[in-house]
Subunit: 242 residues, 4 copies
């Protein structure tokens, strides 16, 4: 039992979270994947199992404190110690400032930032006594730059980055590797395929980020030796202008 | 009536907000100052009046959408057009990540960021049809850097900065000057005097920011000609290390 | 004699340097203006004198150490103590990396950076014993971001910014205000008028920076009280996208 | 012959450059290593050969254009196409601004920046027709922040970073991966061992960067798939405060 170790991926409903879970499962990590409702995670769980890995799906509302507390407790008690935690919930919306409702502004922050705080805090709590662990927050260009129409989304992403930085400065010296990524470009997902066919058309020339490439980067961050850790890693396609 | 113009200062309960109100009142702006309860604003209002200015105090919870909507409506209808809006609510708390409660994390964001969103949106709404105005958000070092113990405060401040940037990119081309300050250092307040006597002791050598100096900087930002606007202005004492 | 104080403007051949000299001359500073050959500075000197100010033109190659040493010595001995020094030499060239010759790369650095180092060091030397002074370096967007075609120019500008930052951290606690500006946008000059008529056409709508507005910003930086100094100030037209 | 590929490491005299050469040699790259005089490189060459790799040492003054041109030509003609180029020359000196001589300021720039420009340009020239390659520049904390005493060093490092950014924006769309690292912390070298015994004492607890860990990071940058490239990678020990 002592060798078992889990990766928790909050927000595994999209292609990126799924690819990260698969990548770590391939290395022997037990993938604990969540989204609001568990049933949509079945194909991912089956795929990991078919590849010889172990996976568990959880329906859990990441914005609810009790749900996050209970999720982490359940995994630690029934499955395995959480060695790696990945926060991967986005909430990309676009509204002019005068058309941004208080409800939208609050909701985007709850999904893309507050949930990250809950995951970060709860997993830090179980990692600290073990003096070991990796916590990665997924960011975007909006994490580092505000833009017309993105007051809500950039606000949540900036706050998540501040969380990652604050946690890193506190937890690195306790041997917990807190990292943040800045994904700059479209990711190859069903949603992009449908809504942005021009972006998707760059796929043949690798002009769109593949979830597997992102997953590989997360794996490399996790396996960095602690004398040379990265905090922030930016990833963008070779064709992307920036 | 056409010459009358107001400055709205949200969070005028501290020394900085008060100094800003006084500085603009000296230039003929009608100071509309708020904090949660209006009565504590009376000394400020009286001081402005004694100096020959006009001032109005409002008790208003900046975190409540209806309160902000009604505040802006009242001033526009009964007092004067809001030419300048300043957001000045802080919420500097320090907790390790595991000791940051969900309540604190949420509350700090509500006070230091969500209120700013409400003020920014509501004042933008009245400025846009006039094609004119200045909106300034007060930031701090935590706006640009996370730090151990500051997950909540830095999160709110980063999000506020993202709001200011997003609004600037949208509203500058509509002749509304959105700006953000980064105040880096202690400010000469009652609170610092009491809690950080060593910081306060630097006052004689001007090693602590005077609210009047900050107010002067805000006035200068407001009067910049539009062919040479600043978005972000950092202010720190000459003795401060950074 | 004790009230006399000089401003040294290195690179006053263009509109910006000239406007800065005029602005400070209006406040009683003796304008000491330089460019490679002094004769082209005569119109500026005459204009300042016609406005009731005092001005002196120097032909001086800012890239030559002995020339800079001698310039500062001459002003200090024969004219007045240098209270303010402004570095304003640009060298905006654009070449793809493979077409950037070693000569161009070196020359751009010499003009836009090494000269700034010489001015900064020599004026710091005379200001330090007096414990007083302001040194401002003019930057551009290329100071903070590299871009295709700008390896040489961005290199020099980044290095100048590093100089300004390093000097600020060393000299602020000695009461010398070292500042850096980031001018983001076209400036209204003869050169823009001729080469970029579309940029120039924005002038009526103040979509192009006026040298006088930049000069005003420099004046405001200089007169900041030392409890609230800015190090970096960005200036851009309201219409500029960023 | 078609499978043969070289890595060029400019500045392989220190531990980091040597470790990078060894890491890539282990993957089949022919290590072409340089420093001012070739003889000191013999132990490195022998070590790589003993491990079954191929290595060639060159004495070459990286600051001389003809030397760099000839070096790249020689390798391309006699050894193998340069697939990877790494610039690794530092020049960390510390002087107060008034004690920084023009000679030191110029020299530090020549070593730590101008040489990098020459390497970058010459290797880009041979990579462009092949539409393939990786160019990595080694940076430091001084690449992103000026500091008291570091006007010369930070200037060169900032300029090198501007070069890397400008080259990346130009060459990424041509399938050449230009990257920059920010090494933040002491590296385990003979020099640190001798001059900073307290830094060195952290070695047991991995509080000092190991050249092998840095080399591994460079290898990972090189093998990133082009749909998810990093431009800037920061590396620092878990114990380092930042």
């Amino acid at each position: 039992m002592s060798d078992r170790k889990a990766i928790l991926v909050i927000g595994a409903g999209d292609a990126t979270g799924g690819a990260i879970a698969r990548r770590f499962a391939r290395e022997g990590y037990i993938a604990c994947v969540t989204r609001r409702t568990a049933d949509k995670l079945q194909p991912l769980v089956e795929q990991i199992r078919a590849d010889g890995g172990e996976a568990h799906a959880f329906g859990s509302d990441a914005r609810k404190e009790e749900a996050m507390v209970s999720l982490v407790e359940t995994i630690e008690r029934d499955i395995a110690p959480i060695e790696v935690a990945v926060f991967n919930i986005g909430a990309n919306v676009r509204f002019s400032i005068t058309e941004t409702t208080a409800r939208v502004y609050h909701k985007v922050w709850e999904m893309a930032c507050f949930s990250g705080f809950l995951m970060g805090r709860e997993t830090a709590k179980v990692m600290l006594p073990r003096g070991r662990g990796t916590i990665i927050f997924t960011g975007a260009t909006a994490s580092v730059r505000g833009r017309e129409g993105f007051a809500a989304f950039a606000g949540a992403k900036h706050a998540l980055r501040a969380l990652a930085q604050s946690m890193a400065r506190e937890l690195w010296p306790k041997n917990i590797h807190v990292a943040h990524t800045v994904i700059d470009g479209s990711i190859d997902t069903e949603w992009i395929r449908t809504n942005f066919p021009e972006s998707y058309a760059k796929k043949d020339r690798q002009g769109i980020l593949s979830p597997d490439s992102i997953a590989e980067a997360y794996w490399q961050i996790h396996r960095q030796p602690r004398d040379a850790w990265s905090h922030e890693t930016e990833l963008r396609p070779w064709m992307e202008s920036w």
